[in-house]
Point group: C2
Chain length 213, copies 2
Amino acid sequence: MQLYSFFFSSTSYRVRIALALKGLNYQYHAVNLRAGEQRSSAYRELNPSGSVPLLVTDEGVAISQSLAIIDYLDAIQPASRLIPRDPIARARVLEVASLIGCDIHPVNNLRVLGYLQKNLNVTDTQKSTWYQHWVEQGMEALEALLHRQGHGSYCFGDEPTLADCCLVPQVANALRMGCDLERFELTMAIYRHCLVHPAFMLADPSNQPDYIA
Amino acid sequence: MQLYSFFFSSTSYRVRIALALKGLNYQYHAVNLRAGEQRSSAYRELNPSGSVPLLVTDEGVAISQSLAIIDYLDAIQPASRLIPRDPIARARVLEVASLIGCDIHPVNNLRVLGYLQKNLNVTDTQKSTWYQHWVEQGMEALEALLHRQGHGSYCFGDEPTLADCCLVPQVANALRMGCDLERFELTMAIYRHCLVHPAFMLADPSNQPDYIA
């Protein structure tokens, strides 16, 4: 399999964690979002959305969107299951993945922050306030959901699921942007527990071939 | 089952379509987002995210996030399957659902447009340009994906899937906001084909008990 990824992209990070948890090998293709490589015609030919991550299967099928990719990986490699089979258990995992993937991440990604600066001329302070606003609102909901429904040392139980694949990159991103997340105690405990898992370490931005400090 | 919904919310609309396609009965609870009812402590007790839709199962289990809810409905009622079982076929459906659910909808929903106006003092023109920017960027990707991978009279085949449950509310929302979408010919053909399906008609905002013209 081949993965088009950017070390810094938190949606790519989710997929890298899933691949590592399942022990799947892949060829890494760096797409430098900062240099705008995702907008090149060569890349758009492969992925019309111009987004990372993109997985190309051994059969040459291209799949974009991190949640679709992880669902696919779970279908072809059921070992280390990331989305449980039981209807309620999977709803819990997908609920957390969606909360992060739809409510928190999209409003704070690179293209949106870029638009705020370039098209709406917001100041650095306004941009940072925007970022923190959506992180805090989302993290409050996440912490409440985990308190109510979570159990075990990961989000749901003692093995990582798709929820953890989404939680770690989101927390890492927010910490890098200077958010203070210590009051989200359960979220942070799960984050720290994940960080020492070998698969999460392997998937870390700093361990990618295109990493720049 | 009970559904907490707002007639105008496109994520609620997705779930109403899924429920109608599966012929599932439910009790409708209106949550008036314009009046801020989603922020009341009574509602937050039920759903810490303060978002609609929320499904409460017959067993009293509350599930938020439209994509998690529809996955759950597909698990408990496999008739009129909305997410195919085949790994590649489901990746295609989830890819389109994620493109709409993560890349288009979240940056243009009510809370984000409200923040732009209240916190960043953008003008009506700037707000409308913002809205159209993300819709056009997303619709271009959607149209390209459908051209490349879609088939049949709906997004994927001759029966509606989760992809159609997401496409219709997004197109309806964009049309209401004054976007010209005619150049997205395939997307619009699918939209119009869905609109005459009885389940899509039943789920339409104008057919909800809380509808206000």
